[in-house]
């Protein structure tokens, strides 16, 4: 086993984790910018997105290089291919955080509609899913990864709840429509973030167990 | 530093060259010496006529013929036995068994036994006990016994030189042991075996002590008519001419001539062996 290759694999994992933490921060910052009505923070998150994309590209190129030059097999091969796929999901999460920030910027110009309760809760769950999925990736803990999959339902349900609540607002008072719709978007974005976190977790299960469980029904899902 | 090493290299190289030159020189000096003394006697009649007038004139034909018969006889007797023994030792026997170790020691020892010992042995057994008398038969058997260890070893070397991968390849295609030996081992080692035979022939041609008590006499009236006849032989003829002749002025040159014939015979046999080996090797190179 080449020590160079060992080091390259460690570096790869490190890069994925770095991307993960950047993206996690983007999620929390984006929600913060909404709840605290901090437009500067939102603008910051948007500015930092190119960095996220750059690391995504860097990781992809490194993975291709490793496949070409090291002919990885078995566990190493799965590590490299899952790293490529996980990165894609993480980058998408980054983009979704940017979307949240853009909506936040708009909402911050208008008077607040109602206190945000469910949205931060959703975001917290989603962020936790991302963090746990990445932990599972590093620790090769497939039980933790499977646990992440179960939380997706909670986020889906909260999304539905938010939507119904805002629908009620919009029916009551048409002047709230502009703001309400933007908030439903944000809720949708968070729900999508949770979906991407689920993808990451499924890839981690493949990495550890060698079994593809993507696109299979998770017990308890609706 | 470098200069000293270069000088040492050059010195060594020239020492080696000198050794080779000395050897070549000795060889040519011997030949030259023989030629000077013997050439004047050498002629076609010399080779095909019977000796006359008490070995002072005439030819050495019976000696040539005698050497020929003895050599042929000994090879015919020795070779098949040597071949089978060598095949058994290399292809069949357990190399590490006590019996095989004993056989190997025996063969290696016998190679070094002086030929006069074989001569006495042959005298006791073949001439006396078997009752062949002093004859071509007794001489051939005696010579065969002497050649056996040499032939066995030469044949064995040739067989051992065949790489085991050939044998395995043959077995892996479904050949039996004997088929493998016949078709692969023997055909590959034929050049080596042939060389062994030819070198044995040239050894046999020059042997004196082995045939002294068992086959030869100094003078026969006629050419041998059966395998029970005594014969003359080239080496013994030389010995006889130099020690028992009454007319040295005539006989010494004849001795030199005979020596020349013998040397040329052995030389040409060796050359044949080399040429044959080169030719056969070319077809089988591996």
């Amino acid at each position: 086993m080449s020590t160079v290759f060992e080091r390259e694999l460690e570096d790869l994992k490190g890069k994925v984790l770095k991307l993960g933490s950047m993206v996690e921060k983007a999620i929390s910052d984006s929600i913060k910018s909404l709840v605290e009505r901090n437009s500067k923070l939102a603008a910051d998150v948007i500015d930092k997105d190119p960095q996220v994309n750059a690391i995504d590209v860097e990781i992809d190129e490194e993975c291709i290089r490793l496949i070409a030059l090291r002919q990885p097999c078995a566990g190493d091969l799965r590590l490299i291919t899952t790293a490529m796929k996980i990165t894609t999901d993480l980058e998408r999460i980054g983009d979704l955080s940017v979307d949240i920030c853009e909506r936040a910027l708009e909402l911050n110009e208008e008077p607040p509609l109602k206190p945000y309760i469910d949205i931060p809760r959703m975001a917290e769950i989603a962020q936790g899913m991302v963090r746990n999925a990445l932990d599972a990736f590093v620790k090769r803990d497939s039980a933790l990864a499977r646990d992440v999959l179960t939380r997706d339902d909670m986020v889906d349900n909260l999304n539905l709840q938010v939507f119904n609540e805002l629908l009620f607002f919009m029916i009551q008072d048409p002047r709230t429509v502009s703001r309400a719709v933007k908030i439903t978007y944000i809720s949708k974005y968070i729900e999508r973030i949770a979906d991407h976190a689920t993808n990451v977790a499924e890839m981690v299960v493949y990495l550890v167990e060698g079994k593809m469980i993507r696109h299979m029904a998770v017990p308890g899902a609706n | 530093m470098v200069k000293a090493r270069a000088i040492k290299e050059m010195l060594l190289f020239n020492m080696l060259r000198l050794a080779v030159i000395i050897i070549m020189l000795s060889f040519f000096i011997v030949l030259y010496f023989l030629a000077i003394h013997g050439l004047k006697v050498l002629s076609i009649p010399f080779l095909i006529e019977m000796p006359r007038s008490g070995m002072t004139e005439g030819g050495i034909m019976p000696a040539i013929l005698g050497t020929f018969y003895l050599t042929l006889g000994s090879i015919i007797i020795a070779f098949p036995m040597a071949l089978f023994t060598a095949i058994y030792m290399t292809e069949y026997a357990e190399t590490r068994s006590k019996i095989m170790q004993t056989v190997r020691i025996a063969v290696n020892t016998l190679v070094g036994v002086p030929s006069v010992v074989y001569g006495l042995f042959g005298f006791a057994i073949f001439v006396k006990v078997f009752g062949f008398g002093v004859s071509i038969l007794a001489g051939s058997f005696t010579m065969a016994v002497m050649l056996l260890p040499i032939l066995i070893r030469a044949t064995q070397e040739a067989l051992l030189a065949v790489p085991n991968s050939f044998r395995e390849a043959s077995f892996a295609v479904g050949a039996s042991k004997w088929q493998t030996i016949k078709r692969v081992v023997l055909s590959s080692s034929a050049p080596g075996i042939l060389t062994g035979i030819i070198l044995s022939i040239s050894r046999a041609a020059g042997e004196t002590a082995t045939i002294m008590f068992t086959a030869v006499t100094f003078f026969t009236l006629s050419l041998p008519d059966s395998i029970f006849s005594e014969v003359m032989a080239l080496p013994y003829h030389i010995y006889g001419l130099m020690t028992e002749g009454a007319f040295p002025e005539k006989q010494v040159p004849i001795a030199y001539g005979t020596t020349l014939v013998l040397v040329l015979l052995v030389l040409s046999l060796s050359l044949t062996a080399i040429i044959l080996r080169i030719n056969l090797r070319r077809k089988r190179k591996w």
């Binding site: 086993m1 097999c73 078995a74 079994k211 | 295609v173 479904g174 692969v184 591996w286």
Partner: protein, 259 residues
């Protein structure tokens, strides 16, 4: 281990144990060999893969103090080929082997291929010529040598010599063809020609190949068995072994962490 129908198996190894004198070299080997597929044996040096291969064509019978226990069943007859009541020469007439270092005989190209046939008593030159051509074509060598069949086999390059050895092995229509690290002495171009040949040949004959080059096993085989210290550690379809092996030892070997 053999849930497959008998139709799909060419051979089955059951609890094979092998001893070099007192050394227990192969321990309870059980392995199915699928018909007309390539089964590869991989493992670190000394793991017993070549020892096992040489059990299949009873090469160990040529040397003394070797002992087999257990069974290697050949289908469809269902006989145990390592039983002492079976003549090893009979086995070797149906199971051929190609060795690590090309070892053509010091004979002509034609005679090399014809050797196995002559040894079985086939003498008619027309039959021999046909079979020689068929075997040389089967070994992808015919076009390169058809004009010089009487030349010495040693005029050929290393890769060609190995293909000649394959032709020689094919000439006798073997039921199983054994390869013992067939390309380890060859350059990459010759190696890839032989690998392609093996992939073609498996449509006609069951193949078992021992290789120390894992990528070769990955390229060429349908099933792979990983051996270690005289035992089979894991046996499965090649793609499973190389993407997600079940056994940790297998994973470590394949990713190069030992051996």
């Amino acid at each position: 281990m053999s849930e497959k129908g008998l139709k799909e198996l060419k051979s089955e190894v059951k609890n094979l144990n092998f001893y070099y004198g007192d050394v227990h070299a192969l321990k309870n080997i059980s392995l199915p060999i699928e018909r007309r597929k390539v089964t590869a044996l991989i493992g670190p040096s000394g793991c017993g893969k070549t020892t096992f291969l040489r059990c299949v064509n009873r090469m160990h019978d040529l040397y003394s103090h070797n002992r087999y226990e257990g069974e290697i069943i050949l289908y469809p007859e269902g006989i145990n080929i390592i039983s002492s009541s079976i003549d090893p020469i009979e086995i070797r007439m149906q199971i051929s082997m190609v060795f690590q270092k090309p070892n053509p005989f010091p004979k002509s190209i034609y005679e090399n291929v014809a050797y196995g046939l002559r040894v079985r008593g086939i003498k008619k030159s027309q039959i021999l010529a046909e079979k020689v051509e068929k075997s040389l074509r089967g070994a992808a060598l015919w076009d390169e040598v058809k004009d010089r069949l009487n030349n010495s086999a040693f005029d050929l390059s290393g890769g060609q010599q190995q293909r000649l050895c394959i032709a020689r092995a094919l000439a006798t229509n073997p039921r199983i063809l054994l390869f013992d690290e067939p390309t380890s002495a060859l350059d990459p171009t010759a190696t890839s020609k032989i690998e392609e040949l093996i992939i073609q040949l498996k449509d006609e004959v069951t193949i078992i190949i021992v290789t120390h080059n894992m990528q070769q096993a990955a390229r060429v085989s349908d099933y792979t068995a990983f051996m270690y210290l005289g035992e089979i550690v894991e046996h499965d379809k090649t793609d499973k072994i190389f993407t997600a092996p079940s056994n940790k030892l297998t994973e470590e070997y394949i990713t190069g962490r030992f051996g």
